[in-house]
């Protein structure tokens, strides 16, 4: 039995007030709050167990290295990877996508090669590919979504042509909550020798992920959305893709030998992890992964689905509110606009006064906003600690917006 009230006890910030009212935090799509175990682990690492990793032979260096490297195994299990060396640490999905673009895209793609993207990608899964378009003449091919916000996997598969080399796609839209059938896409893509790169920034937070079952080549996650520290993250890269990559950043830790005339590289994963990493951030992420695993990803999914169902029922009852994206099986993310043209900025300002934190804007998805024909939306995105009472508070705050702005 998932006891959400007990879960809330684990998150100190949820007990503070905002504008004199209890905080209702519905901006989890942007970043999630941290459980006490993560906060304590970060403090403890700095207080008792801190030194640089992979460098010293002294006690603390060994201890910090063990704690830091242990997280790789946790992430391997969390993502269902086969090997620890397929987990490359990053600072988040943006770095993950840039690593793939520079590390794999640059040496393996040539002018005229195509990358297929959906129109609902986050800029982190667009701009690194635009770099390749600008610098190497790679062609970006876009697949539209359906009117209900769903993505027909067949449309992605049909877009594959003789020059297609990669499909870069989200598993869950940060704006619409749409869940993408990555497995079907990957199966068809691989039959045609096309590589699949998945943005798992949102999906890994809300549902169990198994990269071997999905059979994808790249899968990026970001720690700060996974209830872990900001500046932590990882990307899964299948071994055969790792072998095709060149290092993206050069510096300490990623080398085997450096002379005045030549350099040889360390083996993966360290080959792709130059410089002193986010040691404590990654240790914190390991604790966050333990925390989520202990709650159970299936239990989190089911809790959030019941929140989604209740929110759908309540929000659809507001006839002046438009919800962007109603794909079957979507996650608990609701992007909204109001009839009468009340601006997302206005709505967010008013609901904030009621203690409700939502995001207003374009959510780093300009192509999607253009496709939807809206300038911005208000987004309420739920997490593992949100409650149905908070859905009610959101609705109450939106009703006040309607009264003031309508």
């Amino acid at each position: 039995m998932y006891d959400v009230q007990k879960v809330r006890e684990d998150f100190p910030i949820l007990h503070r007030q905002v504008h004199g009212k209890p905080l209702v935090y519905l901006d989890n799509g942007a970043s999630a709050q941290k459980p006490k175990v993560v906060i304590d682990a970060v403090a403890n690492a700095y207080r008792n167990e801190y030194a640089n990793v992979h460098r010293g032979l002294h006690y603390l260096s060994n201890l910090a290295t063990d704690k830091y490297e242990e997280v790789r195994g946790k992430l391997k299990c969390f993502l269902g990877a086969k090997h620890e060396d397929e987990i490359i640490y990053t600072t988040g999905s943006t770095m993950g996508m840039n690593l793939i673009s520079y590390g794999w895209g640059v040496p393996n793609l040539k002018a005229g090669d195509e990358i297929i993207l959906s129109v609902m990608e986050h800029h982190a899964n667009i701009v690194p590919w635009h770099f390749l378009r600008e610098r190497q003449g790679i062609v970006l091919k876009w697949v539209d979504i359906e009117p209900d916000g769903s993505l027909d996997p067949q449309k992605v598969i049909d877009a594959i042509g003789p020059k297609t080399r990669m499909i870069a796609i989200t598993q869950m839209s940060n704006v619409l909550g749409t869940v993408v059938d990555v497995k079907s896409i990957a199966k068809a893509a691989h039959e045609q020798g096309v590589v699949v790169c998945v943005d798992g920034s949102q999906s890994a937070v809300h549902m169990p992920v198994d990269v071997v079952d999905l059979d994808v080549d790249f899968f990026a996650i970001t720690g700060h959305k996974l209830y872990g520290p900001s500046g932590s993250g990882a990307v899964y890269i299948r071994r055969d893709r790792l072998a095709e990559m060149q290092p993206f950043m050069g510096g300490g830790d990623m080398i085997a030998m450096v002379t005045k005339d030549a350099v040889t590289y360390n083996d993966p994963p360290h080959k792709f992890e130059a410089g002193t990493p986010g040691i404590v951030q990654m240790i914190g992420l390991g604790v966050a992964i333990d925390y989520m695993t202990e709650l159970g990803m299936e239990n989190i999914l089911s809790h959030e689905h019941s929140l989604r169902d209740y929110a759908q029922q309540r929000l659809h009852g507001l006839n002046w509110l438009n919800i962007q994206g109603n794909a079957p099986g979507k996650g608990a993310i609701f992007s909204m606009t109001m009839n009468g043209g009340a601006h997302a900025h206005d709505i967010s300002t008013i609901v904030d006064q009621k203690g409700v934190a939502v995001r207003a804007g374009q959510h780093c998805t300009h192509p999607l906003m253009e496709f939807l024909g809206v300038t911005s939306t208000v987004r309420a995105s739920f997490g593992l600690y949100n409650t149905v009472e908070e859905v009610d508070k959101l609705v109450e705050a939106l009703e006040l917006c309607h009264e003031l702005l309508g």
Binding site: H343, H345, D346, S376
Partner: protein, 141 residues
């Protein structure tokens, strides 16, 4: 020295204890404000740094500065009207002397004064000060 129009807003705000009423007031100001014609909403008049779109068109007579503004967000449009009351009709030198942040702080709309880039008020004030600085340079230079 803030204008009489701005002092009148401050007086009204003193009576409005509930935040809902203060926002209602700002929204009403936004609704009543004349705004701009569509052909005035061009990149040259656009104030960057706001989550919503904001445009400011200066109107300079002799050395006094007036302006018109508009936004697609109603609260922001109301705030433009507040800023208008604060600055309009002053000379460039007077505008540069007004501590806009302190004056607006008297209205308790603190969250619009945060350094977050999505809040347009700072960008708006910066634009008006730039207009005043340019005019002042023309006059003295």
């Amino acid at each position: 020295m803030a204008s009489a129009a701005f002092e009148a807003i401050v007086d009204d705000f003193d009576f409005l204890e509930e935040w809902e009423d203060r926002y209602r007031y700002v929204i009403e100001m936004g609704k009543k404000a004349p705004g701009l014609d569509e052909n005035q909403k061009i990149p040259e008049t656009r104030v960057l740094g706001c989550a919503s779109q904001v445009w400011i068109v200066p109107e300079i007579t002799d050395n006094s500065i007036d302006f018109k503004g508009d936004s697609d967000a109603m609260i922001v449009k109301g705030l433009i009207a507040v800023v208008h009351a604060l600055f309009a009709g002053n000379t460039a030198a007077q505008i540069l002397e007004i501590d806009a942040m302190a004056e607006l702080g008297r209205l308790g709309l603190d969250q619009h004064l945060s350094s977050q880039r999505s809040n347009g008020l700072r960008a708006m004030i910066k634009r008006i000060r730039q207009i005043a600085e340019a005019l002042e340079e023309d006059l003295t230079g």
